[in-house]
């Protein structure tokens, strides 16, 4: 899957997050994940959906290491390429 496809899929998942009230189109690769507007629960909901959508399991360490949206896309791109 190409990088921009991954980004679009992530935007789609963000739009489906009921508890988030954000402008999804304003999110770029440089957006900080903790600046998106998640709380400690909604970020878990989002990560669950990311794993289900892409079929890529994430380790607990991966979750906390990701700082920017770019890191998440990098991680997914790398796992999907295997």
């Amino acid at each position: 899957m190409k990088r921009d496809e991954i980004a679009e899929q992530l935007r789609d998942l963000l739009r489906r997050q009921d508890e988030l009230d954000i402008d999804v189109d304003a999110i770029t690769e440089d957006t900080r994940i903790d600046g998106i507007g998640f709380n400690s629960l909604s970020i878990l909901d989002f990560m669950y959906e990311v794993e289900s959508r892409f079929g890529v399991p994430m380790e607990v360490g991966d979750l906390v290491e990701m700082e920017f949206v770019r890191d998440l896309i990098d991680h997914l791109e790398e796992k999907l390429a295997r």
Partner: protein
């Protein structure tokens, strides 16, 4: 903050501070006597809380007789009062060398391995049963504990109590304070125990489960953390067996495979844990905190 509210908060703080100082200097036995007496007085004076406890006990089917429900409710008040005293004493007395003289682990070999493996994050769900403070204090001697707590409205009291409940290996994270959204996952990634109470009414981030035959809104945090962080999950309680003597009982590690349906997974895990809390509270009702409005559910959601 309005001046009268501030004054009230300061008086409340002063009372709590004095109480904590008294607990620190008096021997255990007289303090337990005072705790029982204080619980009786509270039981008489806190009419609303008493009524909630009795109604919850009857509604849960623990007994059908009002007098018996009243006896259990009083015992539950006493358990809470004793918990406050013994938690404070444990804070001063427990060390890595002596905590096991007071707290026995009655958990499976698998659960104990998860607890004793350095660097292994461990998710522990618990409930207002026995003495959750002593349990956290004891296991923090084995592995660092990060406990999620609901802060008091009174900021002075909150600071005092938080400082009192924390320890070298035991830190508290407010449920309400805005921090990084990954702070709970980070605790697990850092190999800590992440302890979360899951038996109070949840106003948001919740799922509706059966609890004692009635629907109750329950936090979905535990289930979501288990599903996302994939850390071992235990449900644990500290049962009081005597003065400053406890047994930690645990269910798990719970293993749950994702189905891909988030809502379904969250419901299944939360219901399973809630049933286990119910079973334990049914077995030892005098050690469960009944004075909480647990079933705040609109009629359209109430049918089981």
């Amino acid at each position: 903050m309005k001046p009268l509210v501030r004054l009230y908060y300061l008086v409340e703080y002063a009372a709590a501070h004095t109480l904590l100082q008294a607990i620190a200097v008096l021997p255990l036995r007289p303090m337990l006597g005072l705790a029982h007496a204080a619980a009786r007085v509270s039981f008489l004076l806190m009419r609303r809380r008493r009524r909630i406890a009795i109604d919850n006990i009857l509604g849960a089917g623990i007994c059908t007789d009002e007098r018996q429900a009243r006896r259990i409710a009083l015992a539950a008040f006493q358990t809470f009062s004793v918990m406050l005293v013994e938690a404070n004493i444990a804070r001063r007395r427990f060390t890595a060398a002596n905590w096991a003289d007071h707290v026995a682990l009655r958990i499976s070999a698998e659960a104990e391995a998860a607890l004793r493996t350095p660097g292994q994050g461990l998710l522990v769900a618990t409930a207002h049963f026995g003495n959750w403070e002593v349990m956290a204090r004891a296991v923090s001697m084995i592995k660092p504990v990060c406990a999620v707590y609901r802060p008091f409205k009174n900021p002075y009291l909150d600071e005092l109590v938080s400082a009192n409940r924390s320890g070298a290996n035991l830190r508290l994270v407010s449920r309400k304070r805005a921090e990084s959204p990954t702070r709970l996952v980070r605790a697990l990634a850092d190999g800590e125990i992440l302890a979360i109470m899951m038996d109070q009414h949840a106003a948001n981030g919740r799922v509706l489960v059966d609890f004692f035959g009635r629907k109750a809104w329950t936090t979905k945090s535990v289930a979501m953390l288990h599903l996302t962080a994939r850390c071992p999950l235990l449900l644990a309680f500290a049962l009081r067996t005597g003065p400053l003597r406890y047994e930690v009982h645990a269910i798990g590690p719970v293993a749950y495979e994702r189905t891909g349906d988030r809502e379904r997974d969250v419901l299944a895990i939360t219901q399973r844990l809630t049933r286990a809390i119910e079973a334990f509270a049914r077995e030892h009702p005098e050690q469960y905190m009944w004075g909480h409005r647990r079933w705040k559910v609109r009629p359209e959601h109430a049918a089981v």
